[in-house]
Symmetry: C2
Subunit: 404 residues, 2 copies
């Protein structure tokens, strides 16, 4: 069991978003008085503040009433649901998606990511991943016995682009990396890749015969003045070497139904289905019905949601930028901010614990997104506007108490 011990030691969850109650906080001595206010959990969006697409529960209930044929679908998802989703995603991205061959419904986008990685990463494979990027990416590479090759993203100094170091990416491909995994918009920074960057990724992958997994989970929530580029419609990569992941869990607040989608390479989708057969059989049958409310929101619903999020973003940015030593790039899409903070007399993990105990504010330490992010934290600002603003005030107070 030594191999396994080692593997599972690397798979810690106590600092992962949503797992904060597992944290050992006995070592924390509170010297400062409690700061009162509405508790805010910035580790994920608040589906009470931003509710699911109207009518979703009714669609679910109709699925239950369909009975056996909705409860037991093919492992890749009900044919009717796949056809509907393929059409909607084709309209959204501009890609051609064959509902029989090129799409799979999964238990959340996390499920899609796991299946895609399990289908593409063999023992010892080098996998290029971005720093910073979604916390599970590194863990997936480790679990499948691959070797992560970090590609830096200089998100603070880049303008009009994410700041991906394409030279590093090329070096990784030259050194044998056969897979590149990235989220766009980037989680945790909320920046988007420019069209030039996306084309750079596509050209390099094609040149070196690499496979790309593009996690586009937040690609519908784009803020004013920004344009999104889907890699899958640039016609740069062999379509059998590209998988795009998305789903209705975030912007649409449907996380509780656990739904995700992957589309692209038929070869990889086939493998993903084989793997899904032993991982969880299928996305919950009745939940699959909920895919029908996706991209079928009431007129204006999405525009209003985006405007409300942009207003929260702007308030929090103003507050954070008023603090000496805090740097934060403006979110271009999605609901994340990833500020860097001044030197403190405690580690970022201690700061996160103290903040939760003293101020009822939960954030995710930067180290979850790359070991070097020791002075950053991530917040998901899809929250009640007033509560979020007040929570950031408390966060700033705690930060100032621990300034070096």
């Amino acid at each position: 069991m030594d191999l396994l011990n080692e593997k599972f030691l690397k798979l810690g969850v106590e600092n992962a978003p949503g797992q904060e109650t597992l944290q050992n906080t006995t070592e924390i001595k509170q010297h400062e008085e409690k700061l009162s206010g509405t508790p805010v959990d910035f580790s994920h969006g608040d589906v009470d503040a931003f509710q699911p697409i109207p009518g979703t529960l009714d669609v679910f209930i109709s699925g239950v009433h369909l009975g056996a044929k909705q409860a037991y679908t093919e492992y890749r998802g009900s044919k009717i649901i796949r056809e509907d989703a393929a059409q909607k995603l084709a309209n959204f991205t501009g890609a051609t998606i064959n509902a029989d061959r090129n799409i799979i419904i999964t238990p959340g986008t996390q499920g899609a990511l796991f299946l895609a990685m399990g289908s593409a990463v063999a023992r010892g494979d080098k996998v290029a991943i971005v720093a910073p990027d979604y916390f599970a990416n590194r863990k997936l590479v480790e679990f499948f016995d691959g070797e992560a090759v970090p590609i830096q993203m200089d998100y603070f100094n880049a303008t009009d682009c994410a700041g991906l170091d394409l030279n590093q990416l090329e070096a990784a491909f030259k050194a044998g990396a056969k897979l590149f995994l990235f989220s766009n918009p980037n989680n945790p920074t909320g920046v988007m890749y420019s069209q030039a960057e996306i084309c750079g990724i596509g050209e390099l992958a094609q040149k070196y015969g690499a496979t790309v997994i593009a996690d586009e989970l937040y690609s519908r929530q784009i803020f004013e003045g920004r344009t999104y580029t889907h890699l899958c419609t640039q016609n740069l990569i062999d379509p059998e070497k590209l998988i795009t992941i998305t789903g209705p869990s975030k912007t649409e607040s449907l996380s509780g139904y656990r739904l995700g989608v992957a589309f692209g390479s038929g070869t990889i989708i086939d493998r993903m289905e084989k793997l899904q057969a032993i991982v969880s059989l299928r996305a919950g049958g009745y939940s699959q019905a909920v895919m029908q409310s996706w991209f079928a929101e009431p007129d204006g619903w999405m525009a209003q949601r985006i405007a409300e999020h942009q207003a929260i973003r702007d308030d929090l940015l103003t507050k954070l930028r008023s603090v000496e030593g805090v740097k934060v790039r403006t979110t271009e899409a999605g609901s994340y901010l990833f500020p860097s903070i001044p030197a403190l007399d405690i580690t970022i993990k201690e700061f996160v614990k103290i903040l939760r105990l003293q101020a009822d504010v939960t954030v995710t330490p930067g180290t979850e997104f790359g070991s070097q992010f020791t002075s950053s934290f991530r917040i998901n600002f899809s929250q009640d506007h007033q509560a979020a603003a007040a929570a950031i005030d408390r966060l700033i107070k705690v930060m100032n108490q621990h300034r070096k």
Copy 2:
């Protein structure tokens, strides 16, 4: 990708239960006329014929109305739901289950099985599995790069027990197997292990320091005159070396909600949660609420369900046993029959395809449960009684047409 190609070639799904529409049937030439009748899919239970526990949808809807706290639970499942499930399973099995340390809610029992295997099987490990047993067991060993050591179960000749070869099991442990995985009642045969067999398994595992995963998915649906023995209450194995898997998906017809449970070893449960964090985050949040209707069925509901299944079983047994060359052991628990049939002029996989095309009857080939079961098939008789009986008549006709 050579390692992966090899791995995924072994993970075929076209003959797996529920995947029959993927089968290539172009090679099948139908010489005989179509046999008409209500289509019956014996590859899984029919939740239209045997409906979910009454009130389940209402419990789900209440979960949705709880909002954020039900949508985002800890990865191992909502604390309230875990406490409720731990208490119910303690009452049912007699085991002591700590809700914080010793239980995890998963996306279906398939999810629990995958997480438990991923937490216990390292590359190169020998894993003892029963032949025949659940089709995913071998695939899981292969996926995690283990080596399956088959332990024969002589289910036709054993009386008052399953017929497990405990000498083979001891030999496997002596040869270095550190894990034994088995389903009780056995899938696909529907036989139960006797108390002596369960104690034999427990004593051997303890003697050789092996871990055991006991899949008890069907342990509530026990037919007249039989007694079930839970390994977890025999006090023979170090509790840190035992995981028991169950869930409300089968007997209770809640498959569409994708819920499973594993309880036992805190060390393994911790690993399972770490793995769940990258596999699918959690069992669907709203679905978790449905656990509350489990073990809370209306008075008499379960007894009636068992009686109805026993009546179907008895009818099908009479029909099958009237055919020369068919052997079938009586199901003792659960809803499976695993008959062996006389020599045919076609393979079992061809028989399964022809049966579906010619008679609208879907069964699962025996080879899914062990490569040597080339003249057996599995049926799940949790179906409309009349339709199932008529389907077995059609099955017998097709079988006789192909008798050697």
